[in-house]
């Protein structure tokens, strides 16, 4: 550049073109659409020629673009070719080395004429691995490979073998994270499907416990298991569950919570209609009552359906504590739930509309402490409530030790500072604190969210119309809840009487020797779970 251009470039910023990349529409360039496999004329079949198989497999798996896929070519005895294909990191290489490749290399050579005698039995006779199946269906083998198995193709055989040798890194079985109790077993589900169903099976050691396999998701083909006890569960319930699960049509299913949202009847209802749990003992108890359970690979939670509104508030410890303590704990929990929904609304309604209910001296304290506060009551409440929710939300994102401390410290300091700065009155802090604590006492996580939503609605109604508004809110909410059904069972199933011989009382816990009948709304095949006299030592 000459001197003029240099001078110019010193003062004028040189033009740098912006990055010109934009996404170009790319539809209909799918090479092989798994979702449409059924529309093809014939499913792909294993061919006898190993070259065809190899070419097809390489094309399907985009080998060698796909770095994970490993294709190992072998020559068995007398030079017969074979190849293995697996995905590195998902397959158990020790098993591959020790059992599969070893046994493949030991297969005796058959003359070309004789080889076809053993076509069907190659998997049964020669492969030394516990889960092996021979099939002609290429799709099945590819699916197995995708899920961590290993495919074996031998030259000259019409069938390929798929071996289930998955072993990938996964979490160990540990304590349940959210549903902790003092008594009772302390195991919680982890992500491996087989481990989870094993945890359930080892509690209910009956062969009538059926785990039906399901696959959800057209591409992800996530495997799940529908469990029920065939001697107890109602057939129409199981059929309905199966029908619903099989008619989910989506591409990828990542976690069981998505399945929960697909299965529930009203997505925008305030409360969930399906119970989800992390504990195998809760699942076992539900199965014994006659319910149906869904487990999914890759999710540490199980879905239990059907459920009713009251059962969502029960905790596992009710069955492990002694009956008087369990009843007391239920009462405290109910009070906590009641407080967490209604306390702010009632407080606002009382102080704004119905001051005559408050005892006189308390009214003077409230009035005096509000004298210095610049905001109206409802703005105070919303401010404090929002801050509390933000603290709680922030506490979830922090790593564990810091998270809970942050919550407590933040709450205390915020509240204290707000009171000293005369932005809020101390009574409001107490109300919000009790509400927050009440909502922590809720057992089901999604239920605590639903209570938070309801609390806002009741605050709005209470501040607009006092007790009348709250009465209307309760009325409308109960009627809307009364309409809901959870897998055909009405959601607000009425409470059985306190001393009836039911397994799960809605409100109070029965003594354990009185829990004889299964819930009647499940229409189980077998009504009785215990005999009338369960403690035979008392009679003698």
């Amino acid at each position: 550049m000459n001197i003029f251009e240099r001078a110019k470039s010193a003062f004028v910023p040189s033009y740098r073109p912006e990055s010109e990349f934009a996404l170009t529409p790319d539809k209909n360039k799918i090479e092989y659409d798994v979702r449409e496999e059924k529309e093809e004329e014939a499913p792909a079949r294993v061919s006898q020629s190993i070259e065809e198989n190899l070419a097809y497999i390489k094309k399907r798996f985009s080998y060698p673009l796909n770095n994970d896929v490993v294709i190992r070519e072998l020559r068995m005895k007398q030079g017969r070719r074979a190849f293995l294909i697996f995905i590195d990191g998902m397959a158990d290489t020790m098993a591959l080395d020790g059992y599969v490749i070893e046994s493949l290399l030991q297969i005796p050579y058959f003359a070309d004429g004789e080889i076809y005698k053993y076509e069907d039995e190659i998997a049964e006779r020669f492969i030394a691995h516990s889960q092996a199946s021979a099939t002609e269906d290429m799709e099945a083998i590819i699916e197995e490979i995708n899920f961590g198995g290993c495919g074996v193709f031998i030259d000259g055989f019409k069938k390929g073998v798929s071996l289930d040798i998955r072993n990938w890194g996964h979490r160990q079985i540990d304590r349940p994270e959210t549903e902790q109790t003092i008594y009772g077993p302390q195991e919680g589900f982890a992500e491996m499907l087989r481990n989870n169903s094993a945890l359930v099976r080892k509690i209910l050691k009956t062969e009538k416990l059926i785990s039906e396999g399901v696959k959800i998701g057209a591409v992800s083909k996530t495997r799940g298991v529908l469990m029920y006890i065939s001697d107890i569960a109602n057939d129409s319930l199981v059929n309905e569950a199966r029908r619903r699960i099989n008619s989910i049509s989506t591409d990828y299913i990542i976690a069981i919570e998505e399945v929960m949202q697909f299965l529930e009847e009203s997505t925008f209802a305030a409360t969930t209609q399906i119970m989800s749990t992390e504990r195998p003992d809760k699942v076992a108890r539900a199965l014994v009552e006659g319910r149906v359970v869904l487990l999914l690979n890759g999710s540490p939670r199980a879905l239990i359906f059907p459920t009713t509104a009251f059962e969502l508030t029960h905790s596992v410890s009710d069955d492990y504590l002694r009956v008087p303590y369990a009843n007391m704990s239920r009462i405290i929990r109910l009070i906590a739930i009641f407080m967490s929904i209604l306390l702010p609304g009632l407080y606002l309604a009382t102080t704004l509309f119905h001051q005559e209910v408050i005892p006189t001296y308390l009214l003077y304290s409230i009035s005096a402490s509000r004298e210095n506060v610049p905001f109206p009551s409802i703005i105070e409440l919303i401010l404090m409530d929002l801050s509390f929710e933000m603290i709680r939300e922030a506490g979830i994102r922090m790593p564990n030790p810091i998270g809970s401390t942050l919550g407590i410290v933040g709450g205390l300091i915020l509240g204290q500072a707000a009171v000293s700065a005369r932005i809020v009155s101390p009574i409001m802090i107490i109300v919000i604190a009790i509400t927050g604590i009440g909502s922590f006492a809720t057992v089901d996580y999604s239920l605590s969210w639903s209570y938070r939503m309801l609390r806002l609605i009741f605050v709005a109604l209470g501040s607009l119309m006092g007790y009348y508004g709250i009465a209307i809110g309760i009325f409308v909410y109960s009627l809307i809840m009364g309409k809901r059904k959870s897998f055909g069972v009405p959601f607000l199933q009425p409470l059985p009487k306190a001393l009836s011989r039911h397994m799960s009382g809605a409100l109070f816990v029965n003594a354990i020797w009185r829990r004889e009948k299964r819930p009647s709304y499940l229409y189980t095949k077998d009504d009785k779970e215990e005999q009338k006299i369960s403690r035979k030592w008392k009679i003698k």
Binding site: F353, H354, E356, V357, P359, T360, M465, G466, Y467, Y468, G469, I470, A471, I472, I474, F475, V476, S478, L479, I480, G482, K483, P490, L492, P494, L495
Partner: protein, 350 residues
């Protein structure tokens, strides 16, 4: 499908709801503080009529279907319209008085139109939920209301005074038994039971639930009015507009438990809302069955709005109470006679 217990709770609520408004006052004006004797007498007569009707009833059809079988289309339309008109009149008098009650007790500064508007919206939403949901919520809520009532009556113990119901026959036997027959209009809501027969499992359940419902509902009404007579002496007891609220005001255990009436009114508001939703739904069902329409839910909004309009016609509370009294006197004979006649005739055709 309504179960027996849910049907029972519906009947209990329907009968004793009127006691929570201005109904006891009209009974007391008639017969003095012997109003409880009058109500007991009405209770016995209503029970007898109910037994006669339900024992003679055959088949599992509701009243309107029965009319159709007995007399064809014309009779069906006449019966249906008659029942709808009776139920509407019954309902309209409640809609007029209840928002006034709320305004007196709970929300003194609010406008009446606002209270009524929210009331109507709430019962429309409630009626849309359907009869099963309404019945289920009835069944869940009535025990709570029962416990509240029990607590309420216990808290009034220091104020009961036997001298208040002396002289024992009040205004005289003639006014209790002769002109006192009119207050049987409290039980005229039994008409609902006959309209709801198709929703029950079988006639036996209807009979049992109706009996239990009348017994408990009537018993509760008698107890309420007895408590009112025990706590207030005669000429004064006829002056207060909402007797149950007056009793709630009296409760004064210590300075802490001294003004609890908003809590009780809160429970009673929910009871009356349940009653109103049920009524709106049943009226639209009646119109649907009469004219063989396909759906009943679209009728809910117009019926609720029309009832609200009619209810707002009286200009003041004074007119409202008069008109309510007149309506209840004129409508109750039909509400007993129609089911009785049809029940007796149903035995013929079977």
């Amino acid at each position: 499908m309504l179960r027996k217990k849910e049907l029972t709770s519906i009947i209990i609520n329907a009968i004793h709801t009127k006691m929570l408004l201005t109904y006891p006052r009209s009974v007391i004006l008639n017969s003095g503080n012997a109003a409880w004797i009058q109500l007991l007498y009405n209770f016995a007569v209503a029970l007898v009529i109910f037994f006669v009707t339900i024992t003679a009833y055959r088949g599992k059809r509701g009243l309107i279907e029965l009319a159709d079988i007995l007399g064809g289309k014309a009779l069906r339309i006449v019966t249906g319209v008659l029942i709808a008109v009776i139920l509407t009149l019954n309902f309209v008098s409640i809609i007029r008085i209840f928002p006034e009650t709320v305004k007196i007790v709970l929300l003194q500064d609010a406008r009446l139109e606002l209270i009524t508007a929210i009331f109507v919206i709430a019962i429309i939403i409630g009626a849309y939920a359907g009869i099963e949901s309404i019945a289920r919520v009835h069944y869940l809520f009535l025990p709570i209301a029962g416990v509240m009532l029990f607590v309420f009556l216990i808290m009034l113990l220091p104020y009961y005074d036997m001298d208040n119901i002396m002289p024992i026959f009040g205004n005289g036997a003639k006014s209790i038994f002769l002109s006192g027959f009119n207050s049987i209009s409290l039980f005229s809501d039994m008409l609902l039971l006959y309209v709801l027969v198709p929703y029950a499992q079988n006639l036996d359940e209807v009979k049992q639930s109706g009996t239990k419902g009348i017994l408990i509902g009537g018993g509760v009404s008698v107890i309420i009015i007895l408590a009112y007579c025990l706590t207030h002496p005669y000429p004064v007891s006829g002056e207060f507009m909402v007797p149950v609220y007056q009793m709630a005001r009296m409760i004064h255990l210590s300075s802490f438990f001294s003004r609890f009436e908003p809590f009780f009114q809160f429970v009673w508001t929910i009871l009356i809302l349940l009653y109103s939703s049920l009524y709106v739904y049943v009226i639209s069902c009646v119109w649907q069955t009469t004219f063989r329409l396909k759906y009943e839910k679209p009728l809910i909004i117009p019926i609720a709005l029309i009832c609200c309009e009619i209810a707002m016609l009286p200009e003041s509370v004074i007119n409202g109470i008069e008109i309510q009294h007149k309506i209840s006197i004129s409508a109750y004979p039909l509400s007993f006679a129609v089911p009785l006649v049809y029940a007796l005739l149903s035995g013929r055709r079977n």
